[in-house]
């Protein structure tokens, strides 16, 4: 028998009021994105025409090459490794199955710093090469890491685990009998993969590829450090170097349009995913034990991405930090850590509060308004720099309104919101709402009226139920979400860099500034600290990996 919601009709006026509040909250979260879209028709004083004639083509060409390169490499790596670990057994497989998600701890920009240090002319790799061969610097050609190829390399290493996780889950969910049937019908192991397993996993792989593509498009730290001309760096340059907000806004609105298209594609691919989960026996697939050279090759294939994406860069950063130990300013570091934690914890608390509030305002069961509310998760798919531009606009507009109303003075003193920590927190709210809302709303809905109904019949009023039943039961989910948001905020670079108050630095902005001002060695300590924090969700994830649920780390990546 269906379980119906709580006091349906009688909630009437109260329901309308909380619905209205939810809509207001939704508008607040979407306002910066709307502000960006409003730029699409803005007048740029001819700069847009200039951009279109010159740089836009570069942005598009570089962007397409970067995205297709990273998506291709990450798909090949992610899907291949997932197939290896789900269907085969080889030395170290159990450990490597978990270790393959370690690169998630390192944001792409930190991999970029570490690999630049490794591969630059004065770095250890070329040093060894020269010592072994006796060549001098001009005697040989060496690939330049700070290039498009280099960016593809670090972004692929940073992002392939998403595809690995999704493909692994898809392979693990597949009905084994389909593959066994294929084998009895005369297909070889490899043919069964190509003709049965791969097509069945295709929707999940497509979703993962779109996700990786969007993350690549959104990257700012790595491409800026490598001095590549792509959309994110173009937006940054137009706003800050050229001082043309309208042109930056138009580029941003173009990016946002791309994001919208990608989100719709992702949604479509996710819907298609249903056919992948055909009914059938869900046994763990019988693993093929690899022997001899094949076993060694498999172990190597799985170890290499872990080494290149985590251990080698971590070691490089560690070595750099040790070498630069005299130059490290401990009191400065303390300030950075304090700022980072303060920002991370405030943002996490804010996000959990707002997401929980939104879930509660929307009542205890699914509704059309609830479906609409998921649009607010769009911010997570939007590049940080685009969110930042939107917030600059919103904060600037509000400040101008306040000045016009005479609340604020003119000039520098006339800025209340712009450059305040409040705007930075607002940006975190927009950008990471999905991280908090997705899992919290799911947990809230799953609980439904199951415990609230008995509590009411036992004489408790809604406020008392909130305190004695709802919040205690949601505690676990809220703690997990706080951790996830905290990590995202610590890793987030472009929005923090653009919106932070004057003289307010975090580990991420400090590392970025030091790295771009050629003090890579000093950037190593904050970079290592970020990677250490980034390990937290990786640990959470590996604990939940048995459930093969890739959404624990990227909870509800995109609006459903």
């Amino acid at each position: 028998m269906a379980v119906y919601g709580d006091i349906s009709g009688r909630m009437g006026r109260q329901g309308v009021a909380s619905g209205l509040m939810a809509v207001l909250l939704l508008l607040l979260i979407l306002a910066p994105l709307a502000a960006v879209l409003a730029f699409a028709t803005a007048d740029t004083g001819g700069l847009w025409a200039h951009l279109r004639a010159t740089l836009l083509e570069t942005y598009v060409v570089n962007g397409v090459m970067l995205v297709s390169g990273v998506v291709a490499a990450a798909t090949l790596l992610g899907v291949g490794l997932a197939w290896l670990v789900t269907m085969h057994d080889f030395p170290g497989r159990r450990l490597l199955e978990y270790a393959l998600i370690l690169p998630l701890a390192m944001p792409a920009y930190i991999l970029a710093y570490a690999w630049t240090d490794m591969l630059q002319v004065t770095g250890p790799v070329q040093d060894v090469l020269r010592q072994m061969t006796g060549w001098s610097v001009r005697d040989y050609w060496f690939p330049e890491i700070r290039s498009l190829g280099g960016a593809i390399f670090v972004l692929s290493l940073a992002l392939f685990p998403y595809l690995y996780l999704l493909a692994r889950a898809a392979f693990a969910e597949q009905s084994v009998s389909a593959i066994e049937a294929a084998r009895t019908l005369g297909l070889s192991h490899a043919e069964a993969f190509r003709r049965v397993a791969l097509p069945m996993a295709r929707p999940a792989i497509a979703a993962g590829a779109i996700l990786v593509g969007m993350e690549t498009l959104a990257d700012f730290g790595a491409v800026r450090y490598f001095e590549l001309e792509v959309f994110t760096t173009g937006i940054y340059r137009a706003w800050f170097a050229t001082g043309n907000p309208a042109a930056a806004g138009q580029l941003a609105s173009l990016m946002l349009a791309c994001v919208l298209v990608a989100v719709i594609l992702e949604r479509a691919s996710r819907q298609g995913r249903r056919y992948a989960s055909v009914t059938g026996v869900r046994r763990r697939p019988a693993r093929t034990a690899l022997k001899g050279a094949r076993a060694i090759a498999a172990t190597l294939a799985c170890s290499l991405p872990v080494l290149l994406g985590f251990f080698v860069p971590a070691t490089a950063l560690g070595a750099m930090a040790l070498n630069a130990s005299e130059g490290i300013d401990i009191s400065r570091l303390q300030v950075l850590v304090l700022n980072t934690f303060m920002l991370g914890i405030s943002a996490a608390a804010l996000l959990v509060g707002v997401a929980m509030g939104m879930a509660m305002l929307l009542g205890r069961r699914d509704s059309r308004l609830r479906q609409v509310a998921r649009v607010a998760e769009l911010g997570y798919a939007t590049p940080g720099i685009v969110v930042a531009i939107g917030l600059l606009v919103v904060a600037g507009t509000l400040d101008a309104q306040l000045r016009a109303a005479g609340v604020l003075g003119s000039g520098e003193a006339g800025l209340l919101l712009s450059g305040s920590i409040a705007v930075l927190l607002y940006a975190c709210l927009v950008r990471f709402f999905a991280v908090a809302y997705g899992p919290l709303d799911a947990a809230w809905l799953q609980m439904g009226t199951r415990y609230a109904d008995p509590a009411r019949t036992l004489g408790h009023r809604p406020a008392s139920i909130l305190r004695r039943v709802d919040l205690p039961l949601m505690r676990g989910s809220m703690a997990a979400v706080m951790a996830l948001v905290f990590v995202e905020v610590v890793k987030e670079l472009p929005a923090t860099m653009i919106l932070r108050p004057f003289n307010f630095d975090t580990l991420a902005t400090e590392a970025f500034q030091l790295a771009t001002t050629e003090r890579l060695d000093l950037a190593a300590v904050p970079a290592l600290a970020i990677a250490a924090v980034g390990l937290l969700p990786v640990v959470l994830l590996s604990l939940g990996l048995e459930r093969a649920d890739a959404r624990l780390h990227r909870p509800e990546v995109l609006p459903r």
Partner: protein, 346 residues
């Protein structure tokens, strides 16, 4: 004064009408079973009584006091109604004492004592510190009952209270709970889809179909005097026999039965499987097609030797000592107490 009454309650979910002029009263201390197929609106009626759902029309009274009526709604926490949920819904973050004491407006020693009394009542003394997941299904059931009884509600609603238990446990818990509820003396309305359970547990049984009560009576009257063909057929296997009424008696090929108040002409006769008597005499002859043991009785499938229309197969239930052999030829007569005459349908 009744403990709980529904007066002409109407409720719909969207376009689906769930309750239509639903009217039912429960006397203080009575145990009433609300019996119906799934989807017949039983659970909705309970939720409306508890104040967890608001009907579109009608009135609910608890202890003579109106709690739901047009323009009036008393919140569930302010009603004198306890509800035992189908899935029990014990609070997983609270121990047994926390669960049982949840609805108590007491604190400290008074609260502990009351919880202790309730736990003793349901036979769980000394288990106050355990958490729900540490308890067996039957124990969880008893904690949920103690929790619902704790505030001393004037009426207790039970939603399929035994459905989460396995068959063996169910019978044991069922008889324990009936004794306990009788001892406490609270009025009880309990919802079930199991006719046997309703007849066994309740003082009165209300049979529900399509959102309304079809018949409400004692178990004996429900069994021996069903109000219509639906109620007669709801309680297990029955046989349909065409009949013709002449002057207050219905004549069938198995003999005639009393049909006072029925107009002359064709009628439907329904006889329970247990109302078909097997014999070795003259009269209506049938061949035993199969004869199987079903619980404490035997279920016999019969094929009439000369079949009148609509009677190709009959089901009888006999005691095991009278179980016939397959292929045997028996004579059939009707037990008037389990044979019912209804107006001809269709």
């Amino acid at each position: 004064m009744t403990a709980l009454s529904f007066v002409a309650v109407r409720h719909a979910f969207g376009r689906t009408q769930v309750l239509r002029d639903f009217t039912l009263s429960i006397e203080p201390g009575a145990i009433v079973a609300l019996l119906g197929a799934s989807g017949s609106g039983k659970t909705t009626a309970l939720r409306i009584a508890a104040g967890l759902e608001i009907p579109q029309a009608g009135e609910i009274r608890v202890g003579g006091k109106r709690v739901t009526a047009p323009g009036l709604f008393i919140a569930p926490e302010s009603r004198d109604v306890g509800l035992l949920f189908q899935d029990l819904a014990l609070f997983p973050h609270l121990d047994v004492e926390g669960n049982v004491g949840f609805g108590l407006k007491l604190s400290g020693a008074a609260r502990r004592n009351r919880v202790g009394e309730l736990l003793a009542l349901v036979g769980l003394a000394g288990m106050a510190r355990l958490y729900p997941h540490q308890l067996s299904g039957g124990q969880q059931q008893r904690v949920a009952l103690a929790r619902a009884l704790a505030p001393g509600p004037g009426v207790l609603l039970l939603d399929e209270p035994f459905s989460s238990l396995d068959v063996v446990l169910r019978q044991q818990v069922r008889s324990e709970m009936v004794g306990l509820l009788k001892a406490v003396g609270t009025a009880v309305l309990f919802v079930t889809h199991d006719p046997e359970e309703a007849l066994y547990v309740a003082d009165r049984v209300a049979v529900m179909a399509q959102g309304a009560i079809v018949q409400e009576a004692t178990p004996d009257n429900i069994w021996f005097r069903p109000a219509n063909r639906f109620v007669a057929e709801f309680f297990g296997d029955t046989n349909f026999i065409p009949a013709t009424v002449t002057a207050g008696r219905a004549a069938t090929s198995l003999g005639s039965v009393e049909a006072q108040g029925h107009p002359d002409g064709p009628a439907d006769v329904i006889v329970r499987a247990a109302g078909l008597r097997l014999g070795h005499g003259e009269g209506f002859q049938a061949v035993v097609r199969s004869s199987r043991i079903l619980g404490p009785a035997a279920q016999v499938e019969l094929v009439p030797r000369a079949a009148p229309d609509g009677m190709s197969r009959l089901i009888a239930r006999t005691s095991i000592s009278e179980k016939p052999e397959t292929g045997a030829i028996v004579s059939l007569t009707l037990d008037p107490r389990m044979t019912f005459v209804f107006p001809r349908t269709g």
